[in-house]
């Protein structure tokens, strides 16, 4: 079997960079770990849960999708193409890779989003199975597993007590990654480590069923009381995909950009005339739950939550979507 010594993680990244890949990996950055573009010298923290998700590389927080310049008395449209360099995402989390199916579905729904798809096609995703999970992880509650690699092109399995990783290419893209790695990989035998088993905290089917008939539940007011209405949860979420399109101009040019947006913001649904159909935070938090566990499954046959737990991990107000799901759909044995 193909093996990667953990100590050779950066060699792997360097080999891919030399082969022309833009390499994204979890990198230690001032005490925090984030998935960012790897540069020589950056320390890779392969097993850590990065504070951001991989979606940053497929659906960035801000993306220019149109550009016009002022010429004479009129505007001239500039040709804006997706910025989609060949990219290798290394040591992504299984929950992040699982979220690709969510993004793929929505960005190829009624129209094919060329900006997303160009990046998606250019990206090869290498997942590292999780040897550990924290109290916020709940992939097993939403049909995922810390050892699976749905959506990924290559799977790393931790082995020999974390010293090595077993490398399993799953697609042609993944094989290309392994081929480009050169001497960073070696042939040999290793014993796969046990994968993490985060507790199953709720039954997603029951949650969806409860949501379908409880739009007016008084529980929404109670559950949403701590929420202060920022976008931190949505922006950290690997599956959240709402965006806002803004045209911004200067004297000489106009730029159309697509920015992340969040249903948690009061402005998200504010109409030009002043009416806001989601008038308070309970309506906005309900939307977040409904979208992930009711509307999205109805349309696309899958949940729009992969259980990474980032939203709960970073929320200072203590909003916790898994706790909310457990509240409405407790497991029989819990």
């Amino acid at each position: 079997m193909k093996l990667l010594d953990r100590s050779k993680s950066t060699d792997f990244a360097a080999a891919l960079a030399a082969a022309g890949y833009r390499v994204a990996a979890p990198v230690s950055d001032g005490g925090l770990v984030r998935i960012k573009e790897w540069a020589p010298g950056a320390e890779i923290a392969a097993s850590e849960m990065p504070l951001n998700s991989m979606k940053d590389f497929l659906f960035p927080r801000t993306e220019v999708i149109g550009r016009w310049t002022l010429e004479g008395d009129g505007f001239a449209s500039q040709d804006v193409r997706p910025d989609a360099p060949k990219t290798a995402v290394l040591f992504a989390k299984p929950c992040d890779a699982a979220a690709l199916a969510v993004l793929d579905a929505v960005f190829n729904w009624d129209c094919k989003d060329c900006f997303y798809n160009a990046k998606r096609d250019a990206a090869a995703v290498a997942v590292l199975a999780c040897g550990s999970a924290d109290e916020h992880c709940f992939c097993t509650s939403v049909g995922g597993s810390p050892g699976e690699a749905h959506g990924a092109d290559l799977l790393f399995r931790p082995a020999d007590g974390g010293l090595r990783m077993i490398v399993e290419p799953l697609t042609a893209k993944g094989k290309a990654l392994a081929d480009a790695a050169g001497s960073a990989l070696s042939e040999g035998q290793a014993q796969a480590d046990p994968i993490a088993r985060p507790a199953e905290r709720f039954d997603p089917g029951k949650a969806s069923a409860w949501l379908a008939s409880n739009f007016e539940s008084p529980l929404w007011k109670e559950l949403s009381l701590p929420c202060l209405g920022c976008g931190a949860c949505a922006y950290a979420c690997p599956a959240c995909h709402c965006f806002d399109i803004q045209d911004e101009g200067s004297r000489s040019e106009s730029v159309r950009c697509r920015n992340w947006d969040s249903c948690g913001f009061g402005l998200f649904t504010l109409h030009a005339g002043g009416h806001n159909p989601r008038a308070d935070q309970s309506a906005r938090w309900r939307q977040r739950m409904m979208h992930k566990f009711s509307y999205f499954p109805q349309r696309f046959g899958r949940l729009a939550c992969t259980g990474c737990g980032r939203c709960a991990r970073l929320c200072q107000a203590g909003m916790d979507i898994a706790r909310a799901c457990a509240r409405i759909s407790p497991r029989e044995n819990a």
Partner: protein, 271 residues
């Protein structure tokens, strides 16, 4: 501290059972984390807790209609929260009898205090709440660098901002119904999470707190990207104190720093 927490819980229960308040805003412990919690029945008062790790500024909830609509309220108030309550009071955002503080801090429990009594409690027990020395040292270190070095430092930090506005949400001082960053006729601050939009957002967010920031640190604690927002806030607070003696959140009625003036203000930088 356990005695203080017990007394605070008892007072919360008393206020709720007497009907003097309808909702108590406090903190609870969940695992290693501290979170805001809201109780409306005396029997739930045991859930309330407090220690120095409670970084969220509960005064931020007073702008939330769902919370305000349940006034009169009691708020478990650290000295930092008390200061924010006084800033909100001096800016006519909250009124006496609408909000009561269950004042609690490192020196113990201060009892149920109306807004009018907060200043005296703070001045007696916490008269000189200033930023921690370690923070001031970092401010001094950065201030001593060249303008180019400072620009480079902040560029690296501000570029991380995703514009989730968690800082704004966590701040009791950010109570505008429509924030300047959301105004687009004209578009003062670019909505793109990049470039000059990020610079303008970070600088203006900080400046809108000039003479109002009580240094609670909730914004920095809330930032998912780990931006050192308190460097900006502390530098501004330091300037405001040294130049104008500004120490917000100690008086029930105080003139806003920006919005008042003195003929004696320094004009030496004006040609």
């Amino acid at each position: 501290m356990s005695g203080a927490i017990g007394a605070m819980r008892a007072d919360a229960a008393k206020l709720l059972s007497e009907g003097a308040v309808k909702l108590v805003l406090g903190y609870c412990v969940r695992g290693n984390e501290r979170y805001p919690c809201f109780i409306s029945e005396a029997a739930q008062a045991e859930a309330l807790d407090f220690d120095q790790s409670c970084r969220q500024n509960l005064a931020a909830y007073l702008r939330k209609p769902e919370v305000r609509g349940r006034a009169p309220l009691a708020v478990v108030s650290s000295p930092a929260v008390c200061r924010s309550l006084l800033v909100l009071s001096s800016e006519s955002q909250i009124r006496e009898n609408e909000v009561r503080a269950l004042a609690i801090g490192p020196k113990g429990y201060g009892g149920i205090l109306g807004l009018g009594a907060l200043g005296a409690w703070l001045k007696a027990d916490y008269p000189d709440l200033v930023p921690e020395q370690a923070l001031l040292d970092r401010v001094a270190e950065l201030s001593a660098k060249t303008a180019q070095e400072r620009a480079k430092f902040w560029m690296k930090e501000f570029e991380k901002c995703t514009r989730c506005y968690a800082c704004r949400a966590a701040c009791p001082g950010c109570y505008c119904e429509r924030c300047i960053v959301e105004k687009n006729m004209p578009q003062w601050i670019s909505s793109a999470a990049a470039g000059h939009g990020n610079y303008a957002w970070e600088v203006i967010r900080a400046f809108h707190q000039a003479g109002r920031c009580t240094g609670c640190g909730a914004c920095e604690a809330a930032c998912p990207q780990g931006l050192p927002l308190m460097l900006l806030n502390a530098r501004l607070s330091q300037d405001a104190f040294e130049e104008f003696g500004s120490r917000p959140g100690y008086e029930l009625e105080a003139k806003p720093l920006i919005g008042s003036w003195s003929a004696e203000d320094d004009g030496s930088f004006i040609r």
